[in-house]
């Protein structure tokens, strides 16, 4: 009789333990969602700023037509619902690249550079880039922690049971590293 009770207690403890592990994994997974939502918020802010940027540059110069068109195109693609998550990530990386190039070109148009409108835009864009960088870092950190958790013992068993798989991190784009340079350009 006593042995039976002990067995029950052990089983109950194991069940609680498993539940605990499962919950921890779910929490980590939710963190990833939270982080992605944060990125999304910043991306949306960026989408909203792009038309203003295009308009401002057009006002001062005819030369950047191609770049501006490309930017507008990329933006439409990014917003469209027909594009997969992975593709979205790629498009946004491209947007970052194009915008950086544009900002370098702007150096050639002192009138544009000095205009209040543009300065304000620049500040907002900078802010968005910084927030985006922070959001991406949070995302990668969340993914890292989740991926680790589903691979270590004993949570890997639970992960296996419920078919949890590794998530992909945002590539640390050369953006992040070059962010510092871009800041210098804005001095």
């Amino acid at each position: 009789m006593k042995g039976f009770l002990v067995l029950i207690v052990i089983l109950v403890l194991i069940v609680f333990f498993v539940i605990g592990l499962y919950n921890a994994l779910i929490r980590l997974k939710n963190r990833i969602k939270e982080a992605f939502a944060g990125i999304d918020v910043q991306l949306k802010k960026r989408y909203d700023l792009i038309p203003n940027l295009v308009a401002a540059v057009k006002q001062y110069t005819e030369h950047e037509k191609n770049t501006l068109e490309k930017l507008t195109e990329l933006r439409s693609m990014a917003i469209s619902s027909e594009v997969s998550m992975d593709e979205k990530m790629e498009i946004n990386n491209e947007i970052s690249g194009v915008m950086k190039g544009l900002m370098v070109s702007v150096e050639n148009y002192p009138d544009l550079k000095a205009s209040d409108n543009f300065l304000q835009l620049q500040r907002s864009l900078n802010e968005v880039e910084e927030q985006l960088s922070a959001a991406r870092r949070f995302f990668n950190s969340a993914v890292r922690q989740y991926n680790d958790a589903i691979m270590v013992f004993p949570s890997n068993m639970i992960a296996g049971m419920f078919n949890m798989r590794s998530e992909k991190m945002f590539e640390v784009t050369s953006d992040e590293k070059k962010n510092v340079d871009v800041k210098d350009l804005f001095q």
Binding site: R31, E127, E130, A134, R137
Partner: protein
Amino acid sequence: MKKIEEFEKYFNDIIKPKLQPLEEERKSVKTKIIITCIILLVIFIFMINFFMQDIRLILGYFVVSSVIIGLLKKGYTSNFKDLLIKDIIKFISEDLVFNKSGKIDENQFRKSKLFTDFNRYDGEDYISGEIEYKSDSLSDDKLKLEFSELSVEKEVGSGKDRRVITIFNGMFYVVDFNKEFEYYTKIIPDSKKGFFKRKDRVMLEDDLFEKIYEVYSESQFESRYILSTSMMERLVEFYKKRMKNIYLAFNSNKVYIAVESGTDYFEPKIFTSLYKFDIIKEYYEDLEMVISVIEELKLNIKIWSKK
């Protein structure tokens, strides 16, 4: 803030001459102590037969000797610190005010939420005002701040079991930042972290930074926004250079920085020359560090608008 080389020059040109009378006093006290020691030793040797009779006599003699030397040391009252601080802050900025007996307001200290469990609070050498510094190539900005030495303790037990635990001993800086932090973030030395994992812990990518510091925040986003790669590097550099525990907190529109120091910055040693720059170099460099943290913040958070 002006560079430390400029400060060293100022120290050599302006401050050192002022220290002369104090240095003379120190030397004379030092001589007196050495002579007294020699005399006491000679007496001891002459009377060695007398002393050998009973070990308690030897002990008694040492106690009396210590008391005599202690009195000599006490006679050396040093205005060193007061003189130095006034001149230092005059060099740093004209808009700084020094209050010897002042300290950071306890409520302000509590707002930092860096140290919460204490019942004794004291401090001195309070400085407040503004420091000019270059925030970017376009403008000179003024930094509004206040700082002081603090001694924060917790008294536990009662009667014979009474003990005093040091909670924090060092310099505490409170800097006004022209942007509101929406959430609370704090950075503490890794060695001070608790045993249990906390939900508000922020895990950062810089491995070295993670080894030295631990970060807690109400927002995983804002904390990373504050702790850019370059900010983390700065904090790591500071620790490597000084091996001092440093705590930071970002709350509403203030940045709190606490630098733990084991010993008083300005404790003049009788056997060390007062002309040594090292003594106050750290005081100046710590202030430089605080300002560089703000500069770093402003570099990253380029928009400052309370619009």
